[in-house]
């Protein structure tokens, strides 16, 4: 048998058995403790597998990465904030600028189109089909989405038959074909990549906005209409304000997705050519190409620092929800 299959089967059968055995065994041991100690020990035993993994693979590595960002390329020499100075003067700022473009483009794109589809589909009979079609790209990997759009953006020099849909369209209206994926001018390539991500994530924003839209009381909207408000006034004056908290939540997810962008840039522009590099790709370069752990760690910490406000926002929102529960 294929040794890879054997390994996979071992993990698939062995680990669950060990986990169930562990929980059973701890219960057996807990029973031997005195009454009130049982309830004190038990929760921690149930949490142990998760806590061990989270501590050793998320928390401790994050602290270690912060430490590494203050050291030289192989962690042997304290460098203070030198790496951060390099970030400010080196390729860091260019990546950061691109990340900002991603945040703005992805958030605006997914929310505008997602909102439009949620509101419009609510009024037609083919609503569920429309939503399925829009949501489908969520199931496709960024790599495959990149591939799909590489065919859309495909470029042949002017005069030869175009094989990409967009350039065929441009040629038809008399515009010279554009090399969408190999053009640093005006950040064309960055915007082309951002649109692929909008295509992927609009379904997500649409589904959440749509759920929130359905929870708005129809009587409220009817009352406004009876009072003579136009559809646009109803939308601006009632629907949109009521959707605002949902839009904020969708925005946080989009901001994080945009900040963590990696796959599309890696796949479509060879890890950041044509002025498309973002922090995650620059980090990959520093870590793997240049073996510079200090700089790689610095880029990771910058990413973490930018994400912290979103983290705090999520915590606040969670506490508010728990208050209602």
């Amino acid at each position: 048998m294929d040794p890879r299959l054997v390994t996979a089967l071992e993990a698939l059968v062995g680990v669950p058995l060990v986990l169930v055995g562990y929980i059973m065994a701890t219960e057996y041991l807990v029973r031997m403790a005195r009454g009130r100690w049982r309830d004190r020990i038990r929760p921690w035993l149930w949490l142990t597998p998760a806590l061990v993994i989270l501590t050793s693979f998320l928390i401790a590595p994050t602290i270690q990465t912060i430490w590494m960002s203050l050291h030289n390329k192989n962690g042997t020499l304290w460098q203070g904030l030198d790496n951060y100075a390099w970030f400010m003067n080196g390729p860091g700022i260019a990546s950061l600028v691109n990340n900002v473009l991603w945040v703005v483009g992805l958030t605006m794109g997914t929310i505008t189109i997602g909102l439009a589809v949620a509101v419009l589909a609510d009024r037609v009979r083919y609503e569920s089909v429309a939503k399925s079609i829009l949501f489908m790209p969520m199931a496709i990997s960024a790599v495959a989405s990149g591939l799909i759009w590489k065919f859309m953006y495909w470029y042949q020099i002017a005069g030869t038959p175009q094989t990409g849909v967009l350039n065929e369209g441009l040629t038809h209206v008399g515009v010279a074909p554009v090399a969408f994926l190999t053009n640093p001018d005006y950040k064309i390539t960055t915007f082309a990549l951002i649109f692929v991500m909008v295509w992927m994530w609009t379904g997500f924003s649409m589904v959440i906005i749509s759920a929130s839209l359905k929870s708005i009381s129809p009587e409220l909207l009817e009352a406004a209409r009876v009072d003579g408000a136009t559809e646009w006034q109803v939308f601006r004056g009632i629907t949109l304000p009521l959707l605002a908290p949902t839009l904020a939540v969708v925005s946080t997810t989009m901001i994080i997705t945009a900040l963590k962008t990696f796959d599309l840039v890696y796949t479509l522009t060879a890890n950041g050519s044509y002025d498309t590099q973002v922090i995650a790709n620059e980090m990959y370069n520093q870590y793997f190409k240049f073996n510079n752990d200090g700089r790689g760690a610095t880029l990771a910490v910058v990413l973490l620092l930018i994400i912290i406000p979103v983290m705090l926002f999520n915590i606040r929102r969670f506490r508010a929800q728990e208050g209602i529960r």
């Binding site: 890879r4 993990a11 993994i53 590595p61 489908m136 591939l147 094989t163 849909v165 990696f262 969670f318």
Partner: protein, 298 residues
């Protein structure tokens, strides 16, 4: 409802969306076209010969039909070895879905139904961990895998490395999702089980777990599609070891290498997409719920 509500806005003479139906259909039609057409184009190209792909667009088959072939698929699965990469994706994804789900279920139950000091603080830490950038963990974990558990064995490049990484990365969200669902289970049912003398283990396996099946299904599908579609984690922890690479990695190197057969690329893309697309089409409800609970509770 339409007939009663259309009247006032018409009486006002407003150019409301309700009155004018065609802009609604037109806008939706254009958007749906943009969302579907790229995938259909690649699907058509995956059945065209190299020559056809390089000299004309896929839309030409509507005016000039014929010449379709399945050669690209046999080529991709055999020659380009995508069949073996497909299996790797399965070998990586299934354990990396089952293991975190189980570990998360135990913790979620503890968070939802057991009392201990520091519970709220610990859970807030977990909420924070959901969005932590994976990048801040790569270098230390890579070093840890270099000398795994101090045994001197380097597990970078193995399935074990990605299983561990995906388990850790998936856990915070998994615990969050399951805990929120379990906390809403009916209190009476679980309490009556305790009164009847059931242990927490029994209450967990006989009641909490079966009652949480909808949430577990959403989580399993979410994690499965997430791991199946992952590129970054396998690039870091499997890296250049082609033997164990999943589909995404193989596909990514095909896409970035210019010049080599375009016809294979389209077919390769579909081989990589087929599993998550089937999951999406068959289990759409759970899939949507799993993904949207990442943003909104419930």
């Amino acid at each position: 409802m339409t007939s009663t509500s259309a009247a006032p806005s018409q009486a006002k003479g407003g150019f409301g969306l309700r009155r004018l139906r065609w802009p609604v259909h037109l806008t939706l039609g254009v958007l749906l076209f943009i969302w579907l057409m790229p995938t259909i184009g690649v699907f058509i190209n995956s059945f065209r010969s190299a020559d056809a792909i390089n000299t004309s667009g896929w839309w030409t088959i509507f005016t000039n039909p014929g010449g379709l072939t399945v050669d690209n698929y046999s080529q991709v699965i055999g020659q380009e070895d995508l069949g073996s990469k497909f299996l790797n994706s399965l070998y990586i994804t299934i354990p990396a879905t089952v293991i975190p789900t189980m570990i998360a279920a135990f913790s979620a139950y503890a968070f939802a139904w057991m009392r201990f000091p520091g519970k709220n603080l610990l859970f807030l830490l977990l909420v924070a961990l959901i969005v932590i950038p994976l990048q801040t963990t790569f270098i230390p974990i890579g070093q840890f895998f270099n000398n795994f558990l101090g045994t001197g064995t380097n597990i970078n490049g193995s399935f074990l490395a990605v299983w561990l990484a995906h388990t850790a990365y998936g856990l915070p969200f998994a615990i969050y999702l399951l805990r929120n669902f379990m906390a809403d289970l009916p209190r009476e049912v679980l309490e009556s089980a305790y009164i009847d003398g059931a242990s927490p283990v029994q209450a967990f396996f006989r009641l909490a777990l079966p009652m949480s099946v909808p949430a577990i299904a959403s989580l399993v599908i979410f994690q499965f599609v997430f791991v199946w579609n992952d590129l970054l984690v396998s690039l870091i922890f499997i890296g250049p070891n082609t033997e164990n690479q999943p589909l995404t990695q193989a596909l990514s190197s095909l896409v970035s290498s210019y010049g080599s057969g375009w016809q294979y690329l389209a077919a390769a893309g579909f081989v990589a997409m087929i599993v998550p697309l089937m999951v999406f089409l068959a289990l759409q409800r759970y899939f949507v719920r799993g993904i949207s609970s990442g943003s909104v509770k419930g």
